[in-house]
């Protein structure tokens, strides 16, 4: 028997790669806490015995929840994108293609614009958006399921059409509301991590980690599915059931994220791609690594969004789009397609 020359995935490699990424994430979090449009005095900020002071409020109430939310959202989007790319066998799939985002955005905007004024928007809008996400998942599922199978091509088409429909309705809403509301709608859509309710952030954290766990258990199935439905079946995957499970898991992840922070694009597209180039396509390593890399990416993007113009906020979706789109184009040109003809 030949001497073992394979370099398979081992627990050691899993821990090393993810451990390194986790370390980078922690450093990123600390660095991001130190950066902002306003300089704060660290000692005063962390002095718990003192009176409530602006530095502490900035750090604990403004920055830290926002940074944590960025990490959670970035991780969730990257994970969802990774799983969806495997499901659709396409490294260019963005989680927002699924149609869930459009439906969640539409419901959220309706709540934003038409709610009675006494209902504050901090919880009502995300709740409505998530309800929209659930409804959209159901609709897309029903439309895309042909003969019991969730076909990739059909799923993609239905998602695009559904998003176009939602976008049309959103445009319509924006023409009938007044100027202030229209601008509010636009900024909500572009994605923002600022001033989100604490409870939502906590709930989202648990939720997205659960989603990551579910997908991680199916990591091997994702590898097999990326070869084709028949190939996956031949390798022992229950194709229909698994495709459905992954579609639902990804939709719920994306729906929750859009409900809380609007549509932040390109994270779910670029991060899985980059991580796959770095660590390979084995989803058992790729999924957790993508989560951590997505978290790092979005924390930095958000830090940029909140510091580059000083006191003025830029929606984080703007930063990811401006940085992501050219980078994506560069990747397209440079990447020799790793597909067999």
């Amino acid at each position: 028997m030949a001497v073992a020359r394979l370099t398979p995935l081992t627990w050691g490699r899993l821990l090393r790669v993810n451990g390194a990424l986790l370390a980078v994430l922690l450093v990123t979090l600390v660095a991001a806490a130190a950066l902002g449009p306003v300089r704060i005095d660290w000692r005063r900020a962390l002095d718990f015995r003192a009176q409530v002071n602006p530095d502490a409020v900035i750090l604990l109430r403004a920055r830290i929840p926002r940074i944590l939310l960025a990490a959670i959202v970035g991780g969730a989007l990257a994970t969802a994108g990774t799983a969806l790319q495997a499901l659709l066998r396409n490294p260019l799939a963005d989680p927002h293609l699924l149609g869930v985002s459009g439906g969640a955005a539409l419901a959220g905007v309706c709540a934003l614009v038409f709610r009675p004024a006494v209902l504050g928007q901090a919880v009502v809008v995300p709740a409505a958006a998530f309800a929209g996400a659930l409804a959209s998942t159901w609709v897309v599922f029903r439309l895309a399921r042909i003969g019991g199978r969730l076909d990739s091509y059909t799923l993609l088409l239905i998602g695009v059409i559904y998003n176009a429909f939602a976008a049309g309705l959103l445009m319509f809403i924006n023409t009938v509301v007044d100027l202030y509301q229209a601008q509010g709608v636009l900024f909500w859509l572009m994605g923002s991590l600022a001033n989100r309710d604490y409870r939502l952030v906590g709930a989202l954290a648990l939720y997205t980690l659960a989603g990551l766990g579910v997908l991680l258990l199916r990591a091997r199935d994702l590898d097999c599915l990326s070869l084709g439905d028949d190939r996956a079946a031949e390798l022992g995957v229950q194709v229909d059931r698994t495709r459905l499970l992954i579609f639902v898991a990804v939709s719920l992840l994306v729906g929750a994220v859009v409900s809380v922070s609007g549509m932040i694009g390109f994270v779910g597209l670029v991060v899985p791609h980059l991580v796959r180039l770095a660590v390979g396509a084995d989803h058992r390593l790729l999924l957790p690594a993508a989560y951590l890399a997505g978290a790092i990416f979005l924390v930095w993007a958000d830090t940029l969004a909140r510091t580059v113009l000083g006191a003025t906020e830029i929606p984080v979706g703007v930063v990811t789009a401006i940085c992501g789109a050219p980078f994506f184009a560069y990747l397209l040109r440079r990447e020799r397609w790793k597909t067999a003809p």
Binding site: T7, N90, R220, D230, R231, L235, D282, A340
Partner: protein, 276 residues
């Protein structure tokens, strides 16, 4: 001739038959692909299936592997109805080498072969020492171990095909189904693959069903040939009786000359319309 290898599923031997198809019928929409196909493959047999394009060969393989369900008729694997098996169970018994593989992601050769161990592992299970040994052995025999860390996309069509064969072997199947395994291979590699498969069949009793276009190659390696035409099984038997000029004309609409060489192995050559 059954080798005793670990990793097998249900081993009920029913008259030595490993897989039996009874009156299979399958249709794509309105178009009938298979009609009333009955076939039994014994343990340790090597069967080649040939036929014109669209005769249902690939469909038959997909029914034998359980990836498709017949509209009528049954497939029994080791005595049990295939529909009664779990998907993973089947994948531990039956491995498929498809015609071609399109890969969307940058998997390495090693990663691709190790996917063959997926039916033996659970959830996020990482491969153990035995899994690695099995995969390595498969890669060694197909001659792709040197490519272990190369990306699949960097290999030629033939090399890639051998990797897929290695993956199938890594599943440690009792039954190996191949869909035109030699179509993209050059002569040397085509021979190597067939030699490999024949060797596995002889030494370890691996049951093989392969769809082949090249009748001469089929005759050289397979002791049993079946012809499909328009979804029906029209011939089934040893090469000498099945591969005749009349049968080939009837099944393939092609004029050939069939001859046996000094070793008794058949060659099939086309009959030129003009000239010699």
């Amino acid at each position: 001739m059954t080798g005793s290898r670990s990793g097998h599923g249900a081993d009920a031997v029913t008259n030595g038959v490993l897989v039996r198809a009874d009156r299979l019928r399958f249709a794509y929409g309105q178009r009938e692909a298979l009609s009333d196909v009955t076939l039994a493959v014994g343990r340790g047999e090597m069967l080649a299936i040939a036929g014109p394009n669209g005769s249902g060969k690939s469909t038959l393989l997909s029914l034998l592997s359980g990836v498709r369900r017949p509209a009528a008729g049954t497939v029994r694997l080791a005595g049990r109805d295939l529909a009664a098996y779990g998907r993973r169970e089947v994948a531990r018994l039956v491995a498929v080498v498809p015609q071609e593989t399109a890969v969307a992601f940058p998997y390495t050769v090693a990663e691709m072969v190790l996917m063959g161990r997926a039916p033996h592992l659970h959830g996020i299970g990482l491969e153990g020492a035995r899994d690695l040994a099995v995969a390595e052995r498969a890669m060694d025999r197909t001659g792709v171990l040197v490519f272990a860390d190369r990306l699949l996309a960097e290999l030629s069509g033939g090399e890639r095909q051998r990797v897929i064969v290695a993956r199938a072997l890594a599943q440690e199947p009792s039954l190996l189904l191949l869909d035109e395994p030699t179509t993209f291979l050059d002569l040397r590699h085509a021979i190597e693959i067939l030699e490999l498969i024949a060797g596995l069949n002889e030494r370890e009793g691996l049951t093989v069903v392969a769809v082949l276009h090249d009748l001469t190659l089929a005759a050289a390696y397979f002791r049993r040939i079946a012809f499909l035409r328009a979804g029906r099984l029209v011939a089934d038997g040893p090469p000498l009786s099945v591969i005749t000029e009349a049968t080939v004309r009837a099944v393939f609409d092609a004029e050939v000359r069939v001859a046996a060489d000094s070793d008794g192995v058949l060659t099939v050559r086309p009959l030129r319309r003009e000239g010699r």
